[in-house]
Symmetry: C2
């Protein structure tokens, strides 16, 4: 088990050694660790190796000039200058929050960025300003639209954070697919031969229960699974996330979103700049006095928490409960890293001349 | 088969006879007919009887003072004064579009409204202004959160309309449940004994295939169906729609959203005013020059339309394709009304002293 502080300092050192500024390295470490403690480890320390590989391949700009290229009172477009995604994303969300301070709401589309880690981190930045935060990103294509076998979209997440008063905030943070890509990788690493149906299809579009199917031309399904159960709604959601992240910003869309790992080649065709994100901040008191809104959110949360559980279930959860409970547990017990990730980090540490035990 | 014009004039006459202004009656008829021609007939003429019943019971205000009660440069809260939902909703979307004209984006939360018909109508109002339109509403509770058997939420739809140039617009308009409430009613009316699993559960939370299960304490499931397949993501979506529609506006939330039919009693407990909606308009050129954005949307649409179909499928659709094709067909062939709806409309016509053949 590792402490938060140890892994934070290590991660910061890795990115500083790669040439990132101390400020940027702090941001990057904070987002990686946020994923670990919220038990979204698929977006945590495991990804450092991906960024390290991208840096060695010269595919990331560690001295970026992240800047606003277009704006209106409530909107901006940010060019991430091929930065580490967390750096472009955090700055973009800050701008959304600034805009909301004067215009009531702020909406920022970001282009020429890279994988930004855990989406919920940015939406949660709004909470302490008594704002609702929204965070979307497109991602490299693994998902097929309804009726299709082409990998056209990423798992394109949606994160929305809403403040309450006596209750902890409502924080929804979810991929627009039934499961995350990482869950397939985990099943495969555990040697599981079968997963449930409804997550993936084979190269002809037939339902599949094979966790390795992506390697033989298969694709992931959208939320809903099949047309009968509403996969076209998941396709709509994933499309909206893609369009807001890319067409608003000038980033690559859909099948042209660049890979976030160096072992995959740079795509031949580009239709924009890098990966795209979209951020929103909505000042509560642009609608209702913040104290009244937050009291109503308490009532909403209390009402939904007291919904009657189904037989065999103990309780009904509020979005954000599982991650908050994980955070309390992991901050106390420490962060567990599996051997493969430890080995990767040890290799990086050795190459960069820093300690990792 | 009825012509668009015949049913438009009839619907307008019904609402004028009820006492609505000619302007409001035009709006109401336009939205009802939009649902019919887009083949969302569950939100079309069938609902006139519901509104007629609500009017006879004195539960609707046909001379409303729809007004802004709070605003910032990019936001407003509208009080619908218990209007017919279409009247409050259309005015609210107009305000969102006005706000977007100056602030880049406009966001309007509406309280004290009623059932507003087809959500896509309002999001599509933004298109001719070169804006993206967003429309959300809460609805009377039929849907249980993940792990619960309590009916806490409506089928809370999301509609997003995005303009293109040479291609028709992208228009997503979908409930945050696998199927709409109306599909259960249709199965029941057709005498079907069984529906697919994944849409409803019984009063204990057990999966059910009984289309009448809502009558014996059952509930609808969220998009995703079960926890394994991501029902918690559908729960997040439906919650977000509910919170944006109610807590921002001061409307009733979740289980307290009032019924939209007179045969259900007024709820004893109120936590706000009426039904709530949420509207957004985003001026494209607050992000990118409109001509460039729309050309990119054409490229997005062409790319997705040319995705490879799965075996046995003819083509891959773009959100909005089915409704647009229905509109072309129905405007040519006419609107079909089933006998039960015709009978209802004939009764209304007789009572109000107008013609209906």
């Amino acid at each position: 088990m590792y402490s938060y502080d140890y892994l934070f300092d290590f991660t910061k050192s890795v990115f500083m050694k790669m040439g990132c500024s101390e400020k940027d390295s702090n941001i990057i470490a904070e987002v990686f660790l946020a994923a670990e403690i919220r038990d979204h480890s698929s977006h945590g320390m495991i990804r450092i190796n991906d960024y390290y590989g991208m840096w060695k391949a010269g595919r990331i700009n560690i001295k970026p000039n992240v800047r606003v290229v277009h704006e209106s009172p409530s909107t901006a477009v940010v060019d991430g200058d091929n930065a580490v995604g967390m750096v472009a994303a955090r700055r973009s969300m800050e701008i959304a929050i600034e805009k909301a301070g004067t215009a009531g709401t702020g909406w920022v589309a970001t282009r020429h960025s890279n994988h930004f880690g855990i989406a919920g981190f940015y939406s949660m930045m709004a909470l302490k300003h008594d704002m609702i935060g929204v965070s979307l990103t497109n991602a490299n294509p693994l998902v097929a639209p309804t009726f299709s076998i082409s990998r056209m979209m990423g798992t394109n997440p949606i994160a929305v954070a809403i403040p309450a008063s006596k209750n902890p905030p409502f924080v929804a943070d979810f991929a627009t697919t039934p499961i995350a890509r990482g869950q397939l990788a985990v099943a495969e690493k555990k040697g599981e031969k079968k997963i449930a149906f409804g997550f993936v299809q084979d190269k002809t579009g037939k339902p599949s229960d094979d966790p390795t199917i992506l390697k033989s031309g298969g694709s992931m399904l959208t939320l809903g699974g099949d047309r009968l159960h509403g996969s076209h709604k998941g396709y709509c959601l994933s499309s909206i996330v893609d369009i807001f992240s890319s067409i608003f910003s000038g980033a690559n869309f859909g099948p042209f979103v660049p890979p976030s790992v160096a072992y995959l080649p740079v795509l031949e065709k580009k239709v924009g700049l890098g990966t795209g994100h979209f951020f929103g901040a909505m000042r509560i008191d642009a609608f209702q006095p913040a104290i009244e809104f937050k009291a109503k959110m308490d009532e909403w949360i209390d009402t939904f928490r007291s919904a009657k559980p189904a037989e065999g279930q103990e309780r009904v959860l509020i979005p954000g409960d599982p991650e908050r409970e994980a955070e309390a547990r992991i901050m106390k017990d420490g962060i567990n890293l599996v051997p493969a990730i430890k080995n990767d980090l040890a290799t990086i540490a050795k190459e960069l001349g820093i300690d990792f035990n």
